[in-house]
């Protein structure tokens, strides 16, 4: 187990008179080396949970265990820099994360903070930029001149440069076109397979993760209401509805077809290829 949340509660106290509940006795256990999708409606506590993972937010109650660090509630000791290095957080808005005058300096920021030598850091930056598919010519530019897609890649690279063991991304595909979205997911998936890193992706688009993530976690009202595989999740209509999610179109199409033909909805991988195979099989058996 690489991440575990035990009865973790957090309340936002700085937004008016009554504290707003962020996490409400959340329990969660995540395995190492997997790609994990965290789904939920806005305000469900996804981002709050993410920020607990490297100590940006400290639990009011409960215990957060990450790698070999224990973050107990009420413990106000400083967060060890090592935790911040090993758990990389990519935030929602890339334009609110980059601040240096060149992309390269921005990418160097993390590694240098963690005390790497300049040569090591430069090498890490080059690798991270290559990994996310950021053109090396862009490194000398100001981050504010990048397109929103490039900015997104730069923000991911800036975190990846510090070589974290766990990479958590908050809505990483929001400003990307469909092709780059697919591309980024593939690359992130590669991180788990090739380097054994744990990748956590917060999103509200179930469809884009269906064929990549190993584990799906659905959060509502600061609690986990589902944890399992894509196959299990897409057929749990009540969970999807509760979290304000939509079943992938392939599952909906299969459901409609099955209803019309008067047969049972098939249990299948929720993607277009599986749907096509199932339908082809149906046609064949009919003729």
């Amino acid at each position: 187990m690489v991440i575990s949340f035990e009865e973790v509660s957090y309340r936002y106290r700085d937004r008016g008179m009554t504290p707003i509940l962020g996490l409400d006795g959340l329990n969660l256990e995540l395995e190492e080396g997997r790609m994990i999708a965290v789904l939920g409606a806005p305000g469900s506590g996804k981002s709050t949970m993410l920020q607990h993972m490297n100590g940006l937010m400290r639990a009011d109650e409960g215990l957060v265990r990450i790698l070999d660090f224990n973050l107990e509630s009420g413990d106000s000791r400083k967060i060890p820099p090592k935790l911040r290095q090993r758990v990389g957080l990519v935030f929602q808005y890339p334009e609110q994360q980059l601040f240096e005058d060149t992309v390269e300096k921005d990418l160097l920021f993390g590694p240098l903070n963690f005390g790497w030598s300049e040569a090591e850091a430069a090498e890490a930056v080059r690798r991270a930029a290559f990994f996310v598919g950021l053109d090396e010519a862009l490194l000398a530019q100001s981050p504010f001149k990048l397109s929103s897609g490039q900015m997104r890649k730069a923000a991911v690279a800036a975190v990846l440069a510090a070589d974290p063991d766990i990479l958590a991304l908050d809505e990483p595909t929001a400003s990307l076109d469909p092709a780059s979205r697919e591309d980024l997911m593939q690359r992130l998936h590669g991180l788990t397979k090739a380097e054994g890193k744990t990748v956590i992706v917060v999103t509200h688009r179930l469809e884009e993760l269906v064929s990549y993530a190993d584990d799906f976690v659905v959060i509502k009202g600061g609690r986990v209401i589902f944890q399992g595989t894509a196959r299990e999740l897409v057929h749990k209509q009540e969970v999807l509805e509760e979290a304000g999610l939509m079943a992938p179109s392939s599952v909906r199409i299969a459901g409609t077809l099955a209803a019309q033909l008067g047969i049972e909805t098939p249990e299948m991988l929720p993607d277009a290829a599986a749907l096509a195979a199932w339908y082809a099989g149906l046609l064949e058996s009919q003729s």
Partner: protein
């Protein structure tokens, strides 16, 4: 960082103070200011304090929020008090410790001056805690309306004020998010030399400022696209209705002024 700034924030609620016409609350402010400056003794300050506490009670917002609102100015209040203690030599001598002498008059003046400030912050907090920013701006607009005849562009000023009030919390939030992103990439200001600290803080302002400009341009375009023109006649979504409670509220603020004038 935004956690600390509480004055100027709206606190949701449904007390009679919340429901008052914003114009009434704003009209009460200058009256209160007059009363605060007319007071020059313990008794007067105490009476005004009780009056303010009564109004605060009416808002239904816990006292501790008002105390927190005063915190950023605590140092200034303390300074005022100490200044009077050191340099005001009136009344009987209370303490004599060599070069340091405290007189009763100085003590009274110090305490009264410091409490003037505290009283005023508390009432300003009542206004901002119980009035939504856009209502505040709209109320100010209608109070300033008569000034249009001497050529003051009040609707422009009110629009600017309204938008500024609306975006201040957003910009704070943005700065906080940026700060968090940098912290999670290992930023640790305390271990850096001063020069580096200054450079980092200035660098932080860049994305926040560009973000604010981007937002402003977007907002202007979207307002224009929805038919907004400066100076064009507009109806109000929430028209103010002056009720009896509003008259009573403003009237109540005449009491301390009258009392201070007579005593």
């Amino acid at each position: 960082m935004k956690r600390k700034i509480i004055l100027g924030r709206y606190m949701e609620g449904d007390s009679w103070v919340h429901r008052l016409d914003p114009r009434a609350k704003m009209a009460a402010m200058p009256l209160f200011m007059v009363a605060v400056f007319m007071v020059d003794g313990y008794m007067g300050a105490l009476a005004l304090l009780l009056f303010t506490l009564a109004v605060i009670r009416g808002t239904g917002i816990p006292y501790r929020y008002f105390i927190r609102a005063m915190k950023p100015l605590m140092f200034l209040m303390l300074f005022i008090l100490v200044f009077h203690l050191l340099y005001d030599a009136g009344g009987s001598k209370l303490l004599d410790a060599g070069a340091f002498k405290v007189y009763a008059g100085g003590l009274e003046k110090g305490i009264v001056s410091a409490s003037r400030m505290a009283l005023f912050i508390m009432l300003a907090a009542v206004l901002t805690f119980t009035t939504q920013p856009e209502q505040l701006a709209q109320g100010l607009g209608s109070l300033l309306k008569p000034l249009t005849c001497i050529g003051l562009p009040t609707d422009r000023l009110v629009l600017m004020l309204g938008i500024a009030l609306r975006f201040i919390p957003t910009i704070f939030e943005e700065a906080e998010r940026l700060w968090k992103a940098l912290q999670s990439r290992g930023l640790d200001l305390s271990s850096r030399p001063l020069r580096e600290k200054a450079r980092l803080i200035i660098a932080l302002l860049v994305p926040v400022t560009t973000g604010a400009f981007r937002r402003a341009i977007g907002l202007a375009d979207s307002m224009e696209a929805r038919g907004y023109r400066l100076g064009a006649p507009r109806s109000r979504f929430r028209a103010f209705v002056w009720k009896r409670a509003d008259t009573l509220f403003v009237g109540a603020f005449l009491l301390p002024v009258a009392a201070a004038a007579l005593l």
